[in-house]
């Protein structure tokens, strides 16, 4: 592998992390008021907050922000915490932020990666068939439908779906990740419950993004079909199926695969609104909770966690890309 290429990508990853962490560090310090104290006093005024816990919280906050220290020292301390994944504690029940995050992450990753992969697979095949001249017309009828769906924001489709399939015809659950009465164990009941709860949020994402993948693939496939190697493949007397798959789709898919990798990489940040609308207990919903309850540590923790893992997965993708496109090694060198 090309050292220059790896170095460049790694530098980008570092820069993203540094920028994100620094923004996170600066924003609360640019505000005149102190959001956490404000929020805590607000809670205290309403009563019902354990005063001892609150004192502890304020202490944690003071230590964390260390406002009496010079800015550069605060900045170093901040980095120290970030590296140890110490994001502080939540306001609601004083559990460590990192624990809350870790509890939500599997739900988000599970539901969204399945949805993304399905949409990618179906959309890519559709797109390739649409561009192929010998495809029957029955496939082409779906084009307007796909285009319409891809123009709709997924959360609006989500609203329509809830109304249609959970309220008008109550065949699917409206919210949550599994049923109330179901015990979270690895049994059939639990699995079925998880699946039925994931159908609508995942479905809204699949339906609205099939068109995106399909149209992208169609464009790439049309470009690929103009390539000389497609013509030579035909002169070689290859079977149409092989020309379509090993020569056409194989090449047209390269940018699509990059797209898929990026989508998978951005999953954590992906669809806050879907999780909110379906009350799905993922990271997006946690973020929403953090915002609506003004939970500063939680908000910051999620931000940094998402950005770092996103940057890292994009870095990984860049490293893995030469595996699917043998030319990339050379291109890095040629430039």
């Amino acid at each position: 592998m090309n050292t220059e290429y790896v170095l460049k990508r790694f530098l980008l990853f570092l820069a993203v992390v540094v920028v994100a962490v620094s923004i996170n560090f600066l924003i609360p310090r640019m505000r005149s008021t102190n959001p956490i104290k404000e929020r805590l006093y607000q809670l205290a005024a309403q009563g019902g907050v354990n005063v001892g816990k609150m004192e502890e919280m304020i202490e944690v906050w003071e230590k964390k922000f260390g406002l009496d220290q010079p800015l550069w020292k605060q900045y170093i301390n901040y980095w120290n915490d970030v590296i140890r994944l110490d994001f502080g504690k939540t306001i609601a029940d004083f559990t460590p932020v990192i624990n809350e995050i870790m509890r939500s992450v599997p739900w988000t990753i599970g539901m969204l990666s399945v949805a993304t992969v399905i949409a990618f697979g179906v959309g890519t095949i559709f797109g390739a068939l649409l561009a192929w001249p010998k495809t029957g017309n029955f496939v082409k009828i779906f084009v307007p439908l796909l285009m319409t769906l891809s123009a709709i924001p997924y959360y609006l489709l989500g609203i329509v779906m809830i109304y249609t399939f959970a309220i008008y015809w109550p065949i699917l659950p409206t919210s949550g990740a599994y049923g109330f009465g179901v015990r979270p164990e690895w049994d059939i009941e639990m699995v079925l419950s998880v699946i039925s709860h994931a159908v609508m949020p995942a479905g809204s994402i699949v339906l609205t993004s099939i068109g995106f993948w399909g149209l992208g693939m169609r464009g790439m496939m049309i470009t690929t079909m103009g390539e000389d190697y497609m013509k030579f493949a035909e002169y070689k007397g290859l079977k149409e199926r092989r020309i379509f798959l090993s020569y056409g789709v194989r090449n047209a898919m390269l940018p699509q695969v990059t797209g898929l990798a990026i989508s998978l990489g951005t999953i954590l940040a992906g669809s806050v609104l879907v999780e909110v609308i379906f009350a799905y207990p993922g990271l997006g919903n946690l973020l929403y909770t953090a915002i609506s309850s003004n939970d500063y540590f939680l908000l910051q923790g999620i931000m940094i966690f998402v950005i770092v893992s996103l940057g890292f997965s994009l870095f990984l993708i860049d490293l893995l890309y030469p595996l699917i496109d043998p030319r990339i090694k050379l291109q890095g060198e040629q430039q």
């Binding site: 050292t3 220059e4 460049k8 040629q334 430039q335």
Partner: protein, 337 residues
């Protein structure tokens, strides 16, 4: 008298990469010049990667050199004031290879003819400029009613390239650098364009630098020729002898590979191998670009003067005198016009 255009030990190196630098020496230490009189046609020939296009662009001032000097009328381009620079830009014109790419698809072809007249302040008067454009088009054998007012895609490749010749001519340059002007034009139209270039030299005293990969057209058009290999001049001199009696093993190989349009002169008859390795002369000390495999070397074989109008960079001729003048064109045949 100082030559009109002079390249003095000019080199071009392409550098790529941010952290790990990759260097590619495209042109190595070339010195040659073009006199104002007599006007000459010099061919620069080579394969892809030989540096011939880099050479064309350096001479036209389109590309920045890495080292050496480019002088116009005895003055380095880099130390010219703006007026002198404009004169240089106006008097050294280029004709490009691709006769489609040179036109902005957004405008009619008239655009490339009216713009230079305005920009160089030759005339801002509509009727004067029309008159000049018409006469330039006629000079290259185009009928204005068949060309003006049309979009580039409505014209054939040959017509488009002739308009580019007319454009260059419109500015009454002293030198035209023609970078493969006919390689993308149909065979039946090539002759006409090349003949026009010859005519511009004869009638208007414009010197031509003809960059090409095609030795037969170079032979027909040029007085003298430079053969480039990996950015170095391997052989130079009067075209008649360079082509019909090549000295450098690389030139020999190139000449052997010309597909002669004559079924009686077949390639196969010269039974020598077409692999470069097999053409390396026995006495070679493996110290020149031609002999070193994938070679990079800084010690170039000197140019030897093998006869009055010919110089060769090959150790096989080390009995001959090493050229004492760095300027290879000083050994060129002076054309009689």
């Amino acid at each position: 008298m100082a030559p009109l255009l002079e390249a003095n030990k000019i080199s071009k190196e392409y550098v790529s990469g941010t952290f790990i630098k990759k260097r590619n020496l495209a042109l190595r230490n070339i010195t040659f010049s073009i006199d104002e009189t007599p006007p000459s046609i010099t061919a620069i020939a080579g394969e892809s990667g030989s540096g011939k296009t880099t050479m064309a662009r350096l001479l036209a001032g389109i590309l920045e050199k890495s080292s050496g000097d480019l002088l116009y009328k005895g003055k380095p381009i880099s130390s010219m004031n703006s007026v002198e620079k404009i004169t240089f830009k106006k008097e050294v014109q280029t004709i490009f290879q691709d006769p489609f790419e040179v036109y902005n698809p957004f405008y009619k072809v008239d655009h490339v003819l009216t713009t230079p007249l305005k920009k160089y302040g030759i005339t801002s008067n509509k009727s004067d400029s029309d008159k000049m454009i018409l006469s330039a088009l006629e000079e290259v054998g185009l009928r204005p009613d068949e060309t003006l007012g049309r979009f580039p895609h409505q014209l054939s490749g040959g017509q488009r390239q002739r308009i580019m010749v007319a454009r260059a001519f419109l500015l009454r340059p002293k030198i035209i650098i023609a970078d493969e002007p006919v390689s993308m034009v149909d065979a039946s139209l090539r002759a006409t364009i090349l003949e026009e270039l010859k005519l511009l030299r004869e009638k208007y005293g414009i010197s031509i630098v003809y960059i090409t990969h095609d030795l037969t057209t170079a032979y027909q058009v040029a007085d003298n020729i430079l053969i480039l290999y990996k950015g170095q001049v391997v052989e130079a001199g009067e075209v008649e002898y360079v082509i019909n009696d090549p000295k450098h093993p690389y030139t020999k190989l190139l000449v052997d590979c010309i597909p002669q349009p004559n079924p009686d002169v077949k390639w196969g008859k010269s039974s020598e191998s077409t692999n470069i390795e097999n053409r390396i002369p026995n006495e070679c000390n493996n110290n020149c670009l031609f002999c070193i495999k994938d070679g990079n070397t800084d010690s170039l074989t000197p140019m030897y003067q093998v006869n009055k109008t010919r110089t060769v960079s090959c150790v096989s001729y080390n009995k001959s005198k090493v050229c004492d003048n760095e300027d290879i064109s000083s050994y060129f045949l002076k054309p009689k016009i």
